[in-house]
């Protein structure tokens, strides 16, 4: 597990010092995070990295997990799908059980005296205890709810309204709410296996391992085999380019072998690839972070031709490695790429092919985009920015107003 000071070489000493200065202002405050799973999933992953770093900064932060039975989690899965816009009706009994499980957890739980930060809908009803406890409550929705089903929103809205503030990952998820809404984008960890710097020899060995030729351009999309990532569309774009440029295509990603849809997509991708020896379809096991790191670093251009996307952190992961990226303008991707400044945004197979040809023919321009992209990620999408946003979020509930000015000694701003 990295130490907060290990990030100094990446983001600069000033950024780390600033985190300590902000954390100092939370001295004496107790911050509690609550979600529904200790392992697996993006929320648990980020909390498991974030909590130790917050503690190193001197923040009294902790993390608790609610318990639930199968029926509860079956209901929360339906809620998740409904928030994604999928028709997923929930019965009155299921809603009632959901609330009861939250109340049972609330009865057993020791709440923080200052701030309780709830992640996602599963523990949302714990907020019923807020008035009695007199503490500040925050709710973060990590899910894309651009077009949520009304039934689930009608159920959640009275709970959301009780919080002091809500947090969303992208502007498109924002909606009319009676409480303040804060934008906090997800982040990548530059010291993780998937993103850390690796020697060129590892990159070369990985490319050789998968039969890739370093002498010819390599175009890569990293994503699980899912229709929404449009891997077959990527093959069509590659074919349009291949007529003019002798390049290779890598479609690499994982997926659960017990996911029938994923296997179906993989089969369709292999069929579309047919017998082209320059299309490399790599179904990778979950422990392939280092290989993915090397494949991206060895690529001439990285694609993310998603049809729909939550935030799309694979874009930041590629940009962080200085690779030029062509990605669809969906979900959180436009936050990560300013078109023609830090990458290319497209809307179609033709557009992807058009820009892919350009970047492969103009490697200097492509490198410039990659370089800008890396700097954009350094400033905006690394875990240190995420920590700063959380510190500001906790401070914001104690200090109202547009501008909070701390002058001189600690705690001199008027709460």
């Amino acid at each position: 597990m990295p130490d907060i000071r290990d990030y100094t070489d990446i983001v600069g000493q000033g950024v780390i010092e600033e985190l300590f200065l902000l954390a100092e202002r939370l001295d004496g405050k107790e911050i509690q995070n609550i979600n529904s799973t200790a392992v697996g999933g993006g929320v648990a992953e980020i909390l498991s990295r974030m909590i130790p770093l917050l503690k190193q900064l001197g923040v009294n932060a902790r993390w608790d997990v609610i318990k639930g039975d199968e029926r509860f989690f079956s209901t929360t899965k339906k809620m998740h799908n409904a928030l994604h816009g999928v028709d997923s009706p929930i019965s009155a009994d299921e809603f009632e059980h959901f609330v009861q499980v939250n109340r049972d957890n609330a009865a057993d739980m020791t709440f923080a005296k200052d701030v309780t930060f709830i992640h996602d809908p599963q523990p949302i009803a714990l907020v019923e205890r807020k008035t009695e406890l007199g503490s500040k409550w925050l709710w973060r929705c990590h899910i894309d709810f651009t077009e949520p089903r009304m039934q689930v929103m009608d159920f959640l809205n009275p709970y959301i309204a009780q919080y002091d503030a809500s947090v969303f990952s992208a502007p498109a998820f924002s909606r009319h709410l009676p409480i303040p809404q804060v934008l906090i984008s997800p982040s990548i960890d530059p010291l993780s296996e998937k993103n850390k710097d690796i020697p060129q020899s590892v990159v070369d060995a990985t490319l050789a391992q998968y039969g890739l030729d370093r002498e010819r351009p390599i175009v890569t999309q990293i994503s699980r085999f899912d229709y929404l990532k449009d891997p077959v569309g990527v093959i069509h774009a590659y074919r349009k380019v291949k007529k003019y440029i002798d390049c290779q295509l890598v479609l690499a990603g994982g997926g659960a072998t017990d996911d029938p849809e994923g296997m179906q997509v993989l089969a369709e991708v292999r069929e579309a690839a047919a017998d082209d020896p320059d299309i490399h379809v790599l179904f990778l096991p979950p422990s392939s972070d280092l290989e993915i790191n090397a494949l991206v670093r060895g690529s001439s251009v990285v694609l993310q031709k998603s049809l729909k996307e939550g935030f799309g952190l694979t874009v930041s992961e590629a940009l962080w490695k200085g690779r030029p990226v062509i990605a669809s303008a969906v979900g959180g991707i436009p936050l990560q790429i300013a078109h023609k400044y830090s990458g290319i945004l497209t809307h179609s197979i033709d557009g992807t092919a058009y820009y892919l040809k350009q970047l492969l023919q103009e490697p200097e321009y492509a490198e410039k985009l990659g370089k800008n992209g890396r700097e954009h990620v350094r400033t905006n999408f690394l875990i240190t920015r995420h920590i700063r946003d959380y510190l500001l979020l906790f401070l914001s509930v104690f200090y109202p107003g547009d501008i909070v000015r701390f002058d001189g000694a600690r705690n001199d701003a008027t709460p």
Partner: protein, 214 residues
Amino acid sequence: MSEVTPFRFYSRSHQVLLLGRRARSIPELLEGVRDLPPASIYYHTHRFLQQHHYLSPEPPNDFAYWVTNILNLDNLGESLASVDIMAHTQIEDLRRAIVEKLSDHVAAGKHMTTAPPGEEFHFMACKTFVIPTQYVAHDLKEFAEQLSKVTLDTLYFHIFEAPLRLKQEGNDFSTWFAALGHDELARKFAAFDPYTVTLQRLRLRLIATVNKYA
């Protein structure tokens, strides 16, 4: 000169707020710009400076970027990009300048274009936290040394945020130089247009200029 208060460098952090409101067309953008809180006008005219501070030429303000890249209205986009932020010392003046350009476009009946679903303009704002850093300068030499160490957020605060949002007269640096009796240096700093260079280049230029007087 010994009576002059030493210069303390401050840093600032922004919390980004979502306003739950979006625009699909120029009339909707105009309506939003008219109604937005001042913190939102500030955010949308300065976000690019913070998020893309390493780029030159820099992308334009959010309004110009959206109008040009999403609505494909190049003329209006260029017009919005050219709003001279340096010339507006108050957020409300800046708002008026943007409203005027959007109103002219709507009045000319050229407002039929709408953004495709998913590419609407999302109105946002920011809450600013200003924090004193450990860096303090007692003279020009020390000032130049400290300026090379502070974060770009600190530079950003003193150059952009303090004059426009805290309504301070001129930038903080010029004010302090003038207090030290370096009027010429103060005038030079006040005349820099920081909106057209990257923050890193601006930092180097400022250090080089201060060193000539140190």
